[in-house]
């Protein structure tokens, strides 16, 4: 909380002034327009100019980034930070719930991810159900409230999940079905996972039709009773109509192919396959469907369905024409997605630009926000991360992060504020001790926690 107040204060002060900012003498990794040595001009939260020579407007704040590297703010296509709850696991289809309702702007993971150069994240529901809850794209505007975190203009999403996680609840004892005293929740197999998704879209189609029928009658002036709103099916109708993006947790090649075919049958698109650790086995089919793939750099062997995972996955899918991003699914991994990107140069030989694309422009495209973020181009949001060394070096660290042209992370300020925070913490703790002493009933020790 203390941190929130301090960093929030910093951002607010800058917002009030908003002079143009010029970042000078930097190596600028635009990702989409090559690499150059020069400057970036930020005005009104947008990138106003990029080039070797950029005129400094009067009143502009100049940041000398000599020897430093500027890249687009990192985008994490799969995160669970800033949410008070993740899984509504009691039902097989939980599309009626959504992350937006439980966003928590005080989660310290937001600040920690910022300090790793991340500016945008897709906050997903968990993977407990074949069709999970609604997802929200946020910008890591640390210090702002939940509403102001939301990436306005980004399409909303929905989580699907295949494989071990959604079928686990069908077998809660870890034994033969029915062996325990806890009733299993359908599905318990990959066959059942397919069925749950088909049944849901079967219902959604009928629900969609009932509204179409009503709208037609109403348009003709005929008497009509509107159908009862169904909050579970509404998001699925939005999927059918291309208004909501499907982000599907998956591992094995068979289940990936299954989902693509179900989507084909019902006439909708899978926007991203998440994790998709065996995506390299069906890259051709993924590319043909037009689904993006958002994977880990090198996670493997933590469960059965991750045993054929390979660190070459991102590179191999890229070479086969799939739009690939690297994600974190972890508060910790989220803080070094640039390091994760560097591994794709080792495993599969991606170029520097291809590697950086995996955590910038590619996830932006997957989330359909690439007109706003993901590269350093004039007109885009001024979401930038400044590193002290090349961000694909494991020796690099983040110095500054801008979102909408505002400074949300500054390592120098963070370091400078530490002693103050320590002192403040000590004061608060001393005060708490004092009060505990005062309030403790006579003759009793410290109250139990």
């Amino acid at each position: 909380m203390k941190l929130a107040l301090l960093a929030g204060g910093l951002a607010a002060t800058l917002a009030a002034a908003t002079p143009p900012i010029v970042i000078q003498n930097a190596t600028i990794l635009t990702v989409t327009k090559g690499t150059l040595n020069g400057s970036v001009l930020i005005r009104d939260g947008k990138i106003a100019d990029v080039g070797e020579k950029v005129a400094v407007p009067s009143g502009a704040k100049v940041i000398d980034a000599s020897g430093q590297f500027v890249m687009p703010g990192i985008i994490d296509c799969h995160s669970h930070i800033a949410a008070d709850s993740i899984n509504e696991g009691s039902v097989s289809v939980s599309s009626m719930v959504g992350i937006e309702d439980v966003l928590n702007p005080d989660d310290i993971s937001i600040y920690r991810a910022l300090a790793g150069g991340v500016s945008t994240a897709n906050i997903l529901h968990g993977s407990a159900n074949s069709i999970g809850g609604k997802c929200t794209v946020i910008k890591l505007r640390w210090g702002k409230d939940a509403h102001d975190m939301i990436f306005q203009g980004a399409l909303p999403g929905i989580k699907f999940a295949l494989g071990e996680n959604p079928k686990r609840a069908g077998n809660p004892t870890g034994q033969r079905i029915g062996a325990g005293n806890v009733p299993g929740r359908y599905p318990a197999t990959r066959m059942g996972v397919e069925d749950v998704i088909r049944e849901a879209f079967n219902e959604a189609k009928a629900y969609q039709q009932s509204w179409k029928d009503y709208d037609q009658k109403a348009a003709r002036g005929q008497p009509a009773v509107p159908p009862r709103r169904d909050l579970k099916l509404e998001p699925l109708v939005e999927v059918l109509e291309g208004k909501r993006l499907v982000h599907a947790h998956c591992y094995r090649a068979d289940e990936i192919l299954m989902l693509l075919r179900v989507a084909d049958d019902y006439g909708f698109k899978i926007r991203t396959l998440q994790h998709v650790l065996e995506g390299y086995k069906v890259a051709k089919e993924i590319a043909a469907h037009g689904a993006g793939a958002s994977t880990f750099s090198d996670w493997w062997a933590y469960k059965m369905e991750a045993f054929d995972a390979i660190p070459y996955n991102a590179a191999l899918m890229t070479r086969k024409g799939v739009l690939v991003s690297l994600n974190s699914d972890s508060d910790e991994l989220m803080r070094h997605l640039n390091d994760e990107a560097a591994k794709t140069m080792k495993y599969g030989g991606l170029s520097e630009t291809e590697a950086l694309s995996l955590v910038t422009i590619n996830p932006a495209k997957q989330l359909m926000i690439d007109n706003r973020v993901g590269s350093i181009e004039v007109g885009k949001d001024a979401d930038l991360a400044i590193f002290d060394k090349h961000p694909l070096s494991n020796y690099a660290k983040v110095e500054k992060v801008f979102i909408d042209g505002q400074l949300y992370f500054d390592r120098a300020s963070d370091l400078a504020e530490r002693s103050g925070r320590e002192a403040e913490k000590k004061k608060l703790m001393d005060k708490e001790k004092e009060e505990q002493k005062k309030n403790a009933p006579a003759g009793r020790g410290r109250p139990a926690a």
């Binding site: 203390k2 469960k303 591994k343 494991n394 139990a448």
Partner: protein, 436 residues
């Protein structure tokens, strides 16, 4: 693709001979124990390093490995893994990491190491030639008992080479240390769980558990001492007890206790315990140093640091608390090496070191923490950890700085033998790269 071809070209002539004598020349040699040698050579005979320097003359007929543009480092050592003890961490049948029972010093990790584990070739492909395989707290799935609970003495950690047809062939030290988890009062459950989380205990209950465990631990050591005395005195009716027998090297100071202690309080407790019991300890997986730097240094207690790429221990810690921890140990003068405390991420050991370097640790010290320091801590610096005459030819040949992710390991030698860099991941890659 290009780099793959180069790698093949480089390895084919070597693979043709399984000879463990050769000369690498024209490479940049990084001995770790001394300054780097440009355009240098390493001469290996019968699996041992017999020469390091410039313009080394090799006996006639010695196989020559051209090292132009390449770098030679000692093979890296991962000082904490579950290597060979766990294949797929969520599948109980494939996990042999933690046994049932609070005091299990008689258990030997070595005999449960599966030499055909897929993790071994995957790990060594990134330049790691030696690991500690360590029994962890009970419950199977690893995790080193960070949250408390389970075993207190977990068994004997083995130091092994990542090459060999059997665990006997892999063995460097059958018992490099005795695994132990120091009892703690576990921190309150995280924000997702709260007090209603099944199994959540009140502070009073946890404190009682902690006190019980401390008492049991003391009693176990007292009993082991009585056993030691009875054995030395050849007391009448003396009977061998496998648990206490296994404790003798620890009591005699011949074998260190590898004590998992994350928080400052646990570290302090462990140090105090070592003082009282007069045993050698190695602190494993500390997540903070606090005021313990001078205490550790004055007693020559080393540490095995867990992943640098980790979250801060406390919510209000600086965001970079885990990144700067290795430098805090360095500045305090405490000897340390890195461990991945894991299997599937063991190959990322060098990047744990690199992040520490990004946040203050000198790069040379980061390198030592995955090579020479580890060898010293495990008592094998006469054989491993640097490129010096007389040491085992455990060599990693790279095209750059091994602490950088983009660097490729081009060749690997263990005891002078060329190690196959192929593994499950490369095979799957090549297979599906070729899918029409």
């Amino acid at each position: 693709m290009k780099s793959l071809l180069v790698a093949l070209l480089l390895t084919i002539p070597l693979a043709a001979s399984d000879d463990d004598s050769f000369l690498i020349r024209g490479a940049t040699i990084h001995p770790v124990a001394s300054a780097e040698i440009q355009n240098g050579s390493v001469l290996v005979r019968d699996g041992k390093i017999v020469g390091v320097g410039r313009n080394l003359a090799a006996p006639k007929g010695t196989r020559i490995v051209e090292g132009k543009g390449l770098h030679v480092y000692p093979g890296m050592i991962d000082s904490a893994t579950e290597m060979g003890l766990s294949e797929i961490s969520s599948i109980r049948e494939s996990v042999d990491v933690g046994e049932i029972g609070k005091f299990d010093p008689q258990l030997r990790a070595e005999v449960a190491i599966n030499p055909a584990s897929e993790h071994i070739p995957v790990t060594r492909a990134n330049g790691i030639t030696t690991v500690i395989a360590m029994p962890m707290s009970a419950g199977g799935g690893g995790g080193f008992g960070r949250g408390g609970g389970g075993s207190i003495i977990t068994g004997q950690a083995a130091l092994v080479h990542l090459d060999g047809w059997t665990w006997e062939e892999m063995e460097i030290k059958k018992s490099a240390g005795m695994g132990m988890r120091f009892p703690i009062i576990p921190p309150p459950p995280g924000r997702f769980f709260g007090a209603n989380f099944p199994g959540a205990k009140t502070f009073t209950e946890s404190k009682k558990d902690y006190e019980t465990e401390l008492r049991e631990l003391k009693e176990f050591f007292e009993n082991a001492r009585r056993y030691q005395k009875a054995k030395a005195a050849k007391e009448k009716g003396f009977q061998t007890d496998l648990k206490y027998e296994a404790m003798l090297p620890v009591l005699e100071g011949a074998e260190p206790l590898i004590v998992v202690a994350s928080r400052e309080r646990a570290i302090r407790d462990a140090v105090q315990f070592a003082d009282q019991q007069k045993v050698h300890v190695i602190i494993a997986d500390p997540r903070e140093l606090g005021k313990m730097g001078a205490e550790l240094k004055s007693r020559n207690i080393p540490a095995i640091l867990g992943p640098t790429l980790a979250l801060p221990l406390h919510e209000d810690d600086p965001y970079d608390a885990a990144y700067t921890l290795p430098d805090q140990f360095y500045k305090a003068g405490v000897k340390f090496a890195f461990g991945s405390f894991n299997n599937e991420f063991a190959r990322n050991l060098p990047y744990q070191a690199a992040t520490a370097a990004a946040f203050g640790l000198p790069v040379d010290e980061a390198m030592k923490a995955v090579t020479l320091n580890a060898a010293q801590i495990w008592g094998v610096a006469d054989r491993l950890g640097s490129i010096e005459e007389g040491k085992s030819a455990d060599l990693m040949v790279t095209d750059g700085d091994p602490l950088e992710a983009r660097t490729q390991v081009k060749q690997l030698y263990i005891k002078g033998k060329t190690v196959d860099l192929d593994n499950r991941h490369k095979r799957l890659y090549e297979k599906y790269l070729g899918r029409p």
